[in-house]
Protein backbone atom coordinates (compact mmCIF):
# COMPACT_ATOMS: atom_id res chain seq x y z
CA UNK A 1 0.00 0.00 0.00
CA UNK A 2 2.70 2.46 1.03
CA UNK A 3 4.58 1.73 -2.20
CA UNK A 4 1.53 2.76 -4.21
CA UNK A 5 1.24 5.84 -2.04
CA UNK A 6 4.84 7.07 -2.48
CA UNK A 7 4.67 6.56 -6.25
CA UNK A 8 1.36 8.41 -6.36
CA UNK A 9 2.84 11.19 -4.25
CA UNK A 10 5.87 11.33 -6.53
CA UNK A 11 3.71 12.01 -9.60
CA UNK A 12 1.93 14.76 -7.73
CA UNK A 13 5.13 16.39 -6.49
CA UNK A 14 6.59 16.32 -9.98
CA UNK A 15 3.43 17.95 -11.30
CA UNK A 16 3.42 20.72 -8.73
CA UNK A 17 7.13 21.37 -9.32
CA UNK A 18 6.83 21.80 -13.08
CA UNK A 19 4.92 25.08 -13.02
CA UNK A 20 6.04 26.05 -16.49
CA UNK A 21 4.62 22.83 -17.85
CA UNK A 22 1.32 23.37 -16.07
CA UNK A 23 0.88 26.76 -17.70
CA UNK A 24 2.11 25.50 -21.08
CA UNK A 25 -0.33 22.61 -21.10
CA UNK A 26 -3.24 25.00 -20.49
CA UNK A 27 -2.52 26.81 -23.74
CA UNK A 28 -4.10 24.27 -26.05
CA UNK A 29 -7.41 23.82 -24.20
CA UNK A 30 -7.69 27.60 -23.88
CA UNK A 31 -7.22 27.98 -27.61
CA UNK A 32 -9.89 25.40 -28.33
CA UNK A 33 -12.25 26.94 -25.85
CA UNK A 34 -11.82 30.55 -26.86
CA UNK A 35 -11.16 30.35 -30.61
CA UNK A 36 -13.50 27.47 -31.32
CA UNK A 37 -15.99 28.32 -28.61
CA UNK A 38 -16.51 31.88 -29.70
CA UNK A 39 -15.72 31.27 -33.38
CA UNK A 40 -18.30 28.54 -33.90
CA UNK A 41 -20.77 30.11 -31.48
CA UNK A 42 -22.84 32.16 -33.95
CA UNK A 43 -23.31 29.35 -36.47
CA UNK A 44 -24.11 26.83 -33.72
CA UNK A 45 -26.78 29.13 -32.38
CA UNK A 46 -28.23 29.73 -35.84
CA UNK A 47 -28.56 25.96 -36.20
CA UNK A 48 -30.82 26.10 -33.19
CA UNK A 49 -28.44 24.28 -30.80
CA UNK A 50 -27.97 27.01 -28.21
CA UNK A 51 -24.67 28.29 -26.81
CA UNK A 52 -21.58 26.59 -28.24
CA UNK A 53 -19.45 27.55 -25.21
CA UNK A 54 -21.94 25.68 -23.02
CA UNK A 55 -21.78 22.72 -25.38
CA UNK A 56 -18.05 22.56 -25.97
CA UNK A 57 -16.76 23.25 -22.43
CA UNK A 58 -17.36 19.68 -21.15
CA UNK A 59 -15.62 18.42 -24.31
CA UNK A 60 -12.60 20.64 -23.67
CA UNK A 61 -12.41 19.47 -20.05
CA UNK A 62 -12.54 15.87 -21.24
CA UNK A 63 -9.83 16.62 -23.81
CA UNK A 64 -7.56 18.09 -21.15
CA UNK A 65 -8.01 15.06 -18.94
CA UNK A 66 -7.39 12.75 -21.91
CA UNK A 67 -4.14 14.42 -23.00
CA UNK A 68 -2.83 14.89 -19.51
CA UNK A 69 -3.51 11.34 -18.38
CA UNK A 70 -2.08 9.69 -21.48
CA UNK A 71 1.08 11.82 -21.30
CA UNK A 72 1.51 11.32 -17.57
CA UNK A 73 1.05 7.61 -18.05
CA UNK A 74 3.64 7.66 -20.80
CA UNK A 75 6.00 9.47 -18.40
CA UNK A 76 7.11 5.92 -17.82
CA UNK A 77 9.15 6.30 -21.01
CA UNK A 78 11.18 9.13 -19.53
CA UNK A 79 11.75 7.14 -16.36
CA UNK A 80 12.90 4.23 -18.44
CA UNK A 81 15.44 6.36 -20.26
CA UNK A 82 16.58 8.37 -17.28
CA UNK A 83 16.92 5.26 -15.19
CA UNK A 84 14.50 5.67 -12.32
CA UNK A 85 12.36 2.83 -13.65
CA UNK A 86 15.23 0.42 -12.93
CA UNK A 87 15.32 1.55 -9.32
CA UNK A 88 11.66 0.60 -8.96
CA UNK A 89 11.89 -2.66 -10.92
CA UNK A 90 14.82 -3.96 -8.88
CA UNK A 91 13.05 -3.21 -5.59
CA UNK A 92 11.46 -6.07 -3.62
CA UNK A 93 7.98 -4.91 -4.58
CA UNK A 94 5.35 -6.60 -6.77
CA UNK A 95 5.22 -4.85 -10.13
CA UNK A 96 1.47 -4.45 -9.97
CA UNK A 97 1.94 -2.02 -7.06
CA UNK A 98 4.44 0.04 -9.03
CA UNK A 99 2.09 0.15 -11.97
CA UNK A 100 -0.93 1.08 -9.85
CA UNK A 101 0.95 3.83 -8.02
CA UNK A 102 2.07 5.38 -11.26
CA UNK A 103 -1.35 5.08 -12.90
CA UNK A 104 -3.21 6.59 -9.95
CA UNK A 105 -0.65 9.39 -9.80
CA UNK A 106 -1.09 10.11 -13.51
CA UNK A 107 -4.87 10.09 -13.07
CA UNK A 108 -4.70 12.53 -10.16
CA UNK A 109 -2.47 14.88 -12.14
CA UNK A 110 -4.94 14.73 -15.03
CA UNK A 111 -7.79 15.53 -12.63
CA UNK A 112 -5.92 18.63 -11.44
CA UNK A 113 -5.40 19.76 -15.03
CA UNK A 114 -9.05 19.13 -15.82
CA UNK A 115 -10.05 21.13 -12.78
CA UNK A 116 -7.89 24.08 -13.85
CA UNK A 117 -9.47 24.04 -17.31
CA UNK A 118 -12.90 23.86 -15.74
CA UNK A 119 -12.04 27.09 -13.90
CA UNK A 120 -11.02 28.67 -17.19
CA UNK A 121 -14.33 27.56 -18.71
CA UNK A 122 -16.13 29.28 -15.84
CA UNK A 123 -14.20 32.44 -16.56
CA UNK A 124 -15.15 32.18 -20.25
CA UNK A 125 -18.82 32.21 -19.30
CA UNK A 126 -19.62 28.52 -18.93
CA UNK A 127 -22.28 27.71 -16.33
CA UNK A 128 -23.26 24.27 -15.01
CA UNK A 129 -27.02 23.73 -15.18
CA UNK A 130 -27.36 21.98 -11.84
CA UNK A 131 -24.86 22.36 -9.01
CA UNK A 132 -26.14 19.18 -7.34
CA UNK A 133 -24.73 17.22 -10.28
CA UNK A 134 -21.18 18.54 -9.77
CA UNK A 135 -19.97 15.59 -7.65
CA UNK A 136 -21.13 13.27 -10.43
CA UNK A 137 -19.27 15.37 -12.99
CA UNK A 138 -16.13 15.02 -10.88
CA UNK A 139 -16.74 11.29 -10.81
CA UNK A 140 -16.82 11.21 -14.60
CA UNK A 141 -13.63 13.24 -14.77
CA UNK A 142 -12.01 10.71 -12.46
CA UNK A 143 -13.21 7.82 -14.62
CA UNK A 144 -11.83 9.42 -17.79
CA UNK A 145 -8.55 10.11 -15.97
CA UNK A 146 -8.23 6.51 -14.70
CA UNK A 147 -9.12 4.96 -18.04
CA UNK A 148 -6.61 6.94 -20.07
CA UNK A 149 -3.85 6.86 -17.44
CA UNK A 150 -4.14 3.10 -17.54
CA UNK A 151 -3.91 3.25 -21.33
CA UNK A 152 -0.94 5.62 -21.14
CA UNK A 153 0.88 3.31 -18.74
CA UNK A 154 0.16 0.36 -21.00
CA UNK A 155 1.56 2.23 -24.02
CA UNK A 156 4.56 3.46 -22.01
CA UNK A 157 5.31 -0.14 -21.01
CA UNK A 158 5.13 -1.39 -24.58
CA UNK A 159 7.23 1.33 -26.22
CA UNK A 160 11.01 1.16 -25.96
CA UNK A 161 11.66 4.81 -26.65
CA UNK A 162 10.09 8.11 -27.51
CA UNK A 163 10.35 7.62 -31.28
CA UNK A 164 6.90 6.05 -31.28
CA UNK A 165 5.45 9.07 -29.53
CA UNK A 166 4.41 10.92 -32.68
CA UNK A 167 2.69 7.78 -33.93
CA UNK A 168 0.73 7.44 -30.72
CA UNK A 169 -0.19 11.10 -30.86
CA UNK A 170 -1.41 11.10 -34.47
CA UNK A 171 -2.94 7.66 -34.69
CA UNK A 172 -4.33 7.21 -31.21
CA UNK A 173 -4.66 10.29 -29.02
CA UNK A 174 -5.90 12.76 -31.61
CA UNK A 175 -8.42 10.29 -33.13
CA UNK A 176 -9.70 9.51 -29.65
CA UNK A 177 -10.27 13.23 -29.17
CA UNK A 178 -11.75 14.08 -32.56
CA UNK A 179 -14.03 11.05 -32.67
CA UNK A 180 -15.38 11.57 -29.18
CA UNK A 181 -18.00 14.18 -29.92
CA UNK A 182 -16.09 16.65 -27.77
CA UNK A 183 -16.54 19.28 -30.47
CA UNK A 184 -19.83 18.28 -32.14
CA UNK A 185 -23.14 16.61 -31.21
CA UNK A 186 -23.30 12.85 -31.79
CA UNK A 187 -26.81 12.90 -33.27
CA UNK A 188 -27.48 12.58 -37.05
CA UNK A 189 -23.91 11.61 -37.95
CA UNK A 190 -23.03 9.70 -41.16
CA UNK A 191 -22.96 5.95 -40.56
CA UNK A 192 -19.16 5.56 -40.58
CA UNK A 193 -18.61 8.32 -38.09
CA UNK A 194 -21.43 7.05 -35.92
CA UNK A 195 -19.74 3.67 -35.58
CA UNK A 196 -16.36 5.28 -34.89
CA UNK A 197 -17.74 7.55 -32.19
CA UNK A 198 -19.46 4.63 -30.51
CA UNK A 199 -16.20 2.68 -30.38
CA UNK A 200 -14.32 5.60 -28.84
CA UNK A 201 -14.28 5.31 -25.02
CA UNK A 202 -13.90 9.07 -24.67
CA UNK A 203 -17.35 9.54 -26.30
CA UNK A 204 -18.88 8.10 -23.16
CA UNK A 205 -16.70 10.31 -20.96
CA UNK A 206 -17.68 13.45 -22.84
CA UNK A 207 -21.31 12.37 -22.79
CA UNK A 208 -21.16 11.73 -19.05
CA UNK A 209 -19.66 15.15 -18.43
CA UNK A 210 -22.16 16.79 -20.72
CA UNK A 211 -25.16 15.20 -19.10
CA UNK A 212 -23.96 16.06 -15.58
CA UNK A 213 -22.84 19.59 -16.45
CA UNK A 214 -25.39 20.82 -18.99
CA UNK A 215 -28.09 18.16 -18.85
CA UNK A 216 -27.73 16.92 -22.43
CA UNK A 217 -27.10 13.22 -22.89
CA UNK A 218 -26.73 10.96 -25.90
CA UNK A 219 -26.10 7.51 -24.43
CA UNK A 220 -27.52 7.96 -20.93
CA UNK A 221 -25.58 8.22 -17.67
CA UNK A 222 -25.67 4.54 -16.78
CA UNK A 223 -24.26 3.46 -20.13
CA UNK A 224 -21.56 6.13 -19.91
CA UNK A 225 -20.44 5.03 -16.46
CA UNK A 226 -20.57 1.33 -17.31
CA UNK A 227 -18.49 1.68 -20.48
CA UNK A 228 -15.89 3.81 -18.69
CA UNK A 229 -15.59 1.42 -15.75
CA UNK A 230 -15.28 -1.65 -17.96
CA UNK A 231 -12.78 0.18 -20.19
CA UNK A 232 -10.68 1.18 -17.18
CA UNK A 233 -10.56 -2.40 -15.92
CA UNK A 234 -9.57 -3.71 -19.35
CA UNK A 235 -6.78 -1.14 -19.77
CA UNK A 236 -5.54 -1.80 -16.23
CA UNK A 237 -5.31 -5.50 -17.01
CA UNK A 238 -3.53 -4.73 -20.26
CA UNK A 239 -1.18 -2.37 -18.42
CA UNK A 240 -0.45 -4.96 -15.76
CA UNK A 241 0.41 -7.49 -18.41
CA UNK A 242 2.65 -5.18 -20.43
CA UNK A 243 4.30 -3.71 -17.33
CA UNK A 244 5.19 -7.17 -16.08
CA UNK A 245 6.96 -7.83 -19.38
CA UNK A 246 9.33 -4.86 -19.14
CA UNK A 247 12.99 -5.81 -19.20
CA UNK A 248 15.67 -3.20 -18.65
Amino acid sequence: MSVIYVLWLRELKRYVRSRVQIVASLGQPMLYLLALGFGMGPIFEKAGQGSYIQFVAPGIIAMTVLFSSIFSGMGLLWDRQFGFLKETLVAPVPRIQIMLGRTLGAATVAMCQGFLVAMICLAAGFRAHDLAMLPLALGFMALIACLFSALGTAIGSALENIQGFQMIMNFLVLPIFFLSGALYPLGNLPAGLRVATRLDPLSYGVDGLRSTLIGVSHFGLATDALVLIVGTILFLLLGRHLFSKIQV
Binding site: S2, V3, Y5, V6, L7, R10, K13, R14, R17, S18, W78, D79, R80, Q81, F82, G83, F84, K86, E87, T88, L89, V90, A91, P92, V93, P94, E160, N161, I162, Q163, Q247, V248
Partner: protein, 262 residues
Protein backbone atom coordinates in the same frame (compact mmCIF):
# COMPACT_ATOMS: atom_id res chain seq x y z
CA UNK B 1 27.35 -15.17 -0.70
CA UNK B 2 27.24 -15.36 -4.50
CA UNK B 3 27.43 -18.74 -6.24
CA UNK B 4 27.44 -18.94 -10.01
CA UNK B 5 27.87 -22.18 -11.95
CA UNK B 6 27.75 -22.68 -15.70
CA UNK B 7 25.70 -19.53 -16.18
CA UNK B 8 24.61 -18.91 -19.78
CA UNK B 9 22.76 -16.05 -21.45
CA UNK B 10 21.96 -16.24 -25.15
CA UNK B 11 20.31 -13.67 -27.37
CA UNK B 12 19.29 -15.67 -30.42
CA UNK B 13 22.55 -17.02 -31.84
CA UNK B 14 24.70 -14.64 -29.84
CA UNK B 15 26.03 -15.92 -26.53
CA UNK B 16 26.57 -12.93 -24.23
CA UNK B 17 27.55 -15.01 -21.20
CA UNK B 18 29.09 -18.38 -21.93
CA UNK B 19 29.15 -20.96 -19.10
CA UNK B 20 30.77 -18.87 -16.42
CA UNK B 21 31.34 -20.08 -12.86
CA UNK B 22 32.62 -18.23 -9.83
CA UNK B 23 31.82 -17.72 -6.20
CA UNK B 24 32.16 -14.76 -3.88
CA UNK B 25 32.39 -15.50 -0.15
CA UNK B 26 30.78 -13.28 2.46
CA UNK B 27 32.60 -10.02 3.17
CA UNK B 28 34.76 -10.12 0.06
CA UNK B 29 35.27 -7.33 -2.47
CA UNK B 30 35.12 -9.03 -5.84
CA UNK B 31 35.98 -7.19 -9.07
CA UNK B 32 34.61 -8.30 -12.40
CA UNK B 33 36.76 -6.91 -15.20
CA UNK B 34 36.48 -7.12 -18.94
CA UNK B 35 36.48 -5.07 -22.15
CA UNK B 36 33.32 -3.45 -23.45
CA UNK B 37 30.66 -5.96 -24.40
CA UNK B 38 32.37 -8.81 -22.54
CA UNK B 39 29.23 -9.67 -20.58
CA UNK B 40 29.80 -7.84 -17.28
CA UNK B 41 26.53 -5.95 -17.17
CA UNK B 42 24.58 -8.93 -18.50
CA UNK B 43 25.95 -11.00 -15.61
CA UNK B 44 25.04 -8.33 -13.07
CA UNK B 45 21.54 -8.12 -14.51
CA UNK B 46 21.09 -11.87 -14.11
CA UNK B 47 22.41 -11.77 -10.55
CA UNK B 48 20.03 -8.94 -9.70
CA UNK B 49 16.85 -10.54 -11.13
CA UNK B 50 16.56 -8.04 -14.00
CA UNK B 51 17.32 -10.64 -16.65
CA UNK B 52 16.34 -14.27 -16.96
CA UNK B 53 19.36 -16.57 -17.54
CA UNK B 54 19.21 -19.04 -20.43
CA UNK B 55 20.76 -21.73 -18.26
CA UNK B 56 23.03 -22.55 -15.33
CA UNK B 57 23.00 -22.22 -11.58
CA UNK B 58 22.65 -18.99 -9.61
CA UNK B 59 22.56 -18.42 -5.88
CA UNK B 60 22.46 -15.21 -3.89
CA UNK B 61 22.74 -15.74 -0.14
CA UNK B 62 21.48 -19.27 -0.67
CA UNK B 63 18.45 -18.20 -2.74
CA UNK B 64 17.74 -18.61 -6.44
CA UNK B 65 16.87 -15.22 -8.02
CA UNK B 66 14.58 -16.99 -10.48
CA UNK B 67 12.41 -18.56 -7.81
CA UNK B 68 12.57 -16.10 -4.92
CA UNK B 69 13.04 -12.82 -6.76
CA UNK B 70 11.53 -10.60 -4.10
CA UNK B 71 13.60 -12.11 -1.28
CA UNK B 72 16.77 -11.82 -3.30
CA UNK B 73 16.02 -8.19 -4.13
CA UNK B 74 15.67 -7.34 -0.45
CA UNK B 75 19.21 -8.66 0.12
CA UNK B 76 21.23 -6.58 -2.28
CA UNK B 77 21.78 -2.95 -3.15
CA UNK B 78 22.81 -1.91 -6.62
CA UNK B 79 24.41 1.08 -8.30
CA UNK B 80 23.73 0.82 -12.01
CA UNK B 81 26.06 1.82 -14.79
CA UNK B 82 23.57 4.50 -15.86
CA UNK B 83 22.03 6.92 -13.41
CA UNK B 84 18.83 5.74 -11.73
CA UNK B 85 17.84 8.69 -9.57
CA UNK B 86 14.72 10.78 -9.93
CA UNK B 87 16.06 14.20 -10.90
CA UNK B 88 12.87 16.07 -10.09
CA UNK B 89 12.86 14.87 -6.51
CA UNK B 90 15.20 16.03 -3.76
CA UNK B 91 18.04 13.88 -2.46
CA UNK B 92 16.13 13.11 0.69
CA UNK B 93 12.98 12.20 -1.22
CA UNK B 94 15.00 9.78 -3.33
CA UNK B 95 16.25 8.14 -0.14
CA UNK B 96 12.75 8.15 1.36
CA UNK B 97 11.23 6.41 -1.67
CA UNK B 98 13.95 3.80 -1.64
CA UNK B 99 13.31 3.16 2.04
CA UNK B 100 9.63 2.58 1.34
CA UNK B 101 10.37 0.28 -1.61
CA UNK B 102 12.59 -1.84 0.62
CA UNK B 103 10.19 -1.86 3.59
CA UNK B 104 12.58 -0.08 5.94
CA UNK B 105 10.59 0.99 9.04
CA UNK B 106 10.05 4.74 9.18
CA UNK B 107 12.20 5.37 12.25
CA UNK B 108 15.16 3.37 10.93
CA UNK B 109 14.66 5.00 7.54
CA UNK B 110 14.96 8.51 8.92
CA UNK B 111 17.97 7.73 11.09
CA UNK B 112 19.85 5.77 8.49
CA UNK B 113 19.11 8.31 5.76
CA UNK B 114 20.69 11.00 7.88
CA UNK B 115 23.76 8.99 8.87
CA UNK B 116 24.40 7.75 5.31
CA UNK B 117 23.91 11.19 3.81
CA UNK B 118 26.28 12.68 6.36
CA UNK B 119 28.80 9.95 5.66
CA UNK B 120 28.64 10.66 1.93
CA UNK B 121 28.69 14.42 2.57
CA UNK B 122 25.28 15.06 1.08
CA UNK B 123 23.29 16.04 4.17
CA UNK B 124 23.67 19.78 3.60
CA UNK B 125 22.15 19.39 0.15
CA UNK B 126 19.35 17.03 1.16
CA UNK B 127 16.57 19.41 0.11
CA UNK B 128 17.95 20.13 -3.35
CA UNK B 129 16.55 18.50 -6.44
CA UNK B 130 18.90 15.82 -7.67
CA UNK B 131 19.03 17.28 -11.18
CA UNK B 132 21.08 20.13 -9.71
CA UNK B 133 23.75 17.72 -8.45
CA UNK B 134 27.14 17.09 -10.06
CA UNK B 135 28.00 13.66 -11.43
CA UNK B 136 30.01 12.81 -8.36
CA UNK B 137 27.27 13.83 -5.95
CA UNK B 138 24.73 11.76 -7.86
CA UNK B 139 27.00 8.74 -7.65
CA UNK B 140 27.50 9.22 -3.92
CA UNK B 141 23.77 9.53 -3.45
CA UNK B 142 23.18 6.36 -5.42
CA UNK B 143 25.62 4.45 -3.25
CA UNK B 144 24.14 5.90 -0.07
CA UNK B 145 20.70 4.93 -1.34
CA UNK B 146 21.81 1.40 -2.21
CA UNK B 147 22.99 0.97 1.39
CA UNK B 148 19.84 2.33 3.04
CA UNK B 149 18.21 -1.07 3.51
CA UNK B 150 21.42 -2.61 4.92
CA UNK B 151 21.96 -5.03 2.03
CA UNK B 152 24.21 -8.03 2.40
CA UNK B 153 25.61 -7.51 -1.08
CA UNK B 154 26.41 -4.31 -2.90
CA UNK B 155 26.59 -4.43 -6.70
CA UNK B 156 28.54 -1.59 -8.31
CA UNK B 157 28.46 -1.51 -12.11
CA UNK B 158 31.20 0.88 -13.25
CA UNK B 159 30.40 3.30 -10.44
CA UNK B 160 33.31 5.65 -11.16
CA UNK B 161 32.64 6.14 -14.87
CA UNK B 162 33.13 9.80 -15.72
CA UNK B 163 34.18 10.89 -12.23
CA UNK B 164 37.27 12.95 -11.41
CA UNK B 165 40.14 11.32 -9.47
CA UNK B 166 39.18 13.07 -6.22
CA UNK B 167 35.64 11.73 -6.30
CA UNK B 168 36.79 8.27 -7.36
CA UNK B 169 39.26 8.17 -4.54
CA UNK B 170 36.67 9.26 -1.99
CA UNK B 171 34.13 6.80 -3.32
CA UNK B 172 36.41 3.78 -3.01
CA UNK B 173 37.49 4.88 0.46
CA UNK B 174 33.83 4.81 1.46
CA UNK B 175 33.27 1.42 -0.11
CA UNK B 176 36.29 -0.11 1.62
CA UNK B 177 35.22 1.42 4.89
CA UNK B 178 31.73 -0.04 4.56
CA UNK B 179 33.12 -3.41 3.67
CA UNK B 180 35.32 -3.28 6.78
CA UNK B 181 32.77 -1.97 9.26
CA UNK B 182 29.49 -3.50 8.04
CA UNK B 183 30.93 -6.59 6.35
CA UNK B 184 29.08 -5.87 3.10
CA UNK B 185 30.04 -8.17 0.25
CA UNK B 186 30.90 -6.04 -2.79
CA UNK B 187 30.64 -7.12 -6.42
CA UNK B 188 32.02 -4.44 -8.73
CA UNK B 189 32.92 -3.86 -12.33
CA UNK B 190 35.25 -1.13 -13.55
CA UNK B 191 37.48 -0.20 -16.45
CA UNK B 192 40.12 1.31 -14.18
CA UNK B 193 42.66 -1.36 -13.32
CA UNK B 194 44.29 0.71 -10.59
CA UNK B 195 40.94 0.85 -8.77
CA UNK B 196 40.43 -2.87 -9.01
CA UNK B 197 43.95 -3.48 -7.75
CA UNK B 198 43.43 -1.11 -4.87
CA UNK B 199 40.07 -2.28 -3.53
CA UNK B 200 39.40 -5.82 -4.72
CA UNK B 201 40.36 -8.91 -2.77
CA UNK B 202 39.79 -11.07 -5.79
CA UNK B 203 39.31 -10.43 -9.49
CA UNK B 204 37.74 -12.30 -12.38
CA UNK B 205 38.48 -11.30 -15.95
CA UNK B 206 35.75 -11.95 -18.49
CA UNK B 207 36.08 -11.71 -22.26
CA UNK B 208 33.66 -12.75 -25.00
CA UNK B 209 31.33 -14.07 -22.32
CA UNK B 210 33.92 -16.41 -20.81
CA UNK B 211 35.96 -16.04 -17.64
CA UNK B 212 39.57 -16.13 -18.80
CA UNK B 213 41.24 -15.82 -15.40
CA UNK B 214 40.44 -15.33 -11.74
CA UNK B 215 42.41 -14.85 -8.55
CA UNK B 216 43.95 -12.14 -6.40
CA UNK B 217 45.65 -9.26 -8.24
CA UNK B 218 49.00 -10.83 -7.30
CA UNK B 219 48.03 -14.20 -8.71
CA UNK B 220 46.89 -12.65 -11.98
CA UNK B 221 50.18 -10.81 -12.39
CA UNK B 222 52.17 -13.95 -11.61
CA UNK B 223 50.06 -16.01 -13.94
CA UNK B 224 50.75 -13.66 -16.88
CA UNK B 225 54.30 -12.74 -15.89
CA UNK B 226 53.46 -9.04 -15.84
CA UNK B 227 54.14 -6.32 -13.31
CA UNK B 228 50.86 -4.41 -13.27
CA UNK B 229 47.23 -5.44 -13.39
CA UNK B 230 46.75 -3.36 -16.52
CA UNK B 231 49.41 -5.37 -18.35
CA UNK B 232 47.95 -8.59 -17.02
CA UNK B 233 44.54 -7.50 -18.28
CA UNK B 234 45.86 -6.72 -21.76
CA UNK B 235 47.83 -9.96 -21.84
CA UNK B 236 44.65 -11.88 -21.09
CA UNK B 237 42.18 -10.03 -23.28
CA UNK B 238 44.36 -8.79 -26.16
CA UNK B 239 44.56 -5.22 -27.38
CA UNK B 240 41.80 -5.16 -30.00
CA UNK B 241 39.26 -2.42 -29.44
CA UNK B 242 35.66 -3.56 -28.91
CA UNK B 243 32.72 -1.62 -30.19
CA UNK B 244 29.36 -1.84 -28.60
CA UNK B 245 26.30 -1.07 -30.66
CA UNK B 246 24.45 2.00 -29.43
CA UNK B 247 21.32 0.88 -27.62
CA UNK B 248 17.98 2.54 -28.07
CA UNK B 249 18.59 4.16 -24.70
CA UNK B 250 21.72 5.86 -25.99
CA UNK B 251 19.95 7.05 -29.10
CA UNK B 252 17.13 8.33 -26.99
CA UNK B 253 19.44 10.25 -24.67
CA UNK B 254 20.89 11.94 -27.67
CA UNK B 255 17.44 12.96 -28.76
CA UNK B 256 16.44 14.04 -25.28
CA UNK B 257 19.46 16.36 -25.31
CA UNK B 258 18.20 17.91 -28.52
CA UNK B 259 14.80 18.34 -27.01
CA UNK B 260 16.44 19.99 -24.04
CA UNK B 261 14.60 18.03 -21.39
CA UNK B 262 16.80 18.01 -18.25
Amino acid sequence: MIQVSDLVKKYGDFTAVDHISFSVPKGEIFAFLGPNGAGKTTTIKMLTTLLEPTGGGLEIDGLDPRRSGTHVRQRFGIVFQDPSLDGDMTAQENMEMHGVFYHVPRKVRTERTESLMRQFELWERRNDQVKLFSGGMKRRLEIARALLHTPKILFLDEPTLGLDPQTRNQLWTHVKELNRTEGVTVFLTTHYMDEAERVAHRIAIIDHGKIVAQGTPEELKQQTGTTSLEEAFLALTGSTIRDEAATSADQFRQMAKLWGKR
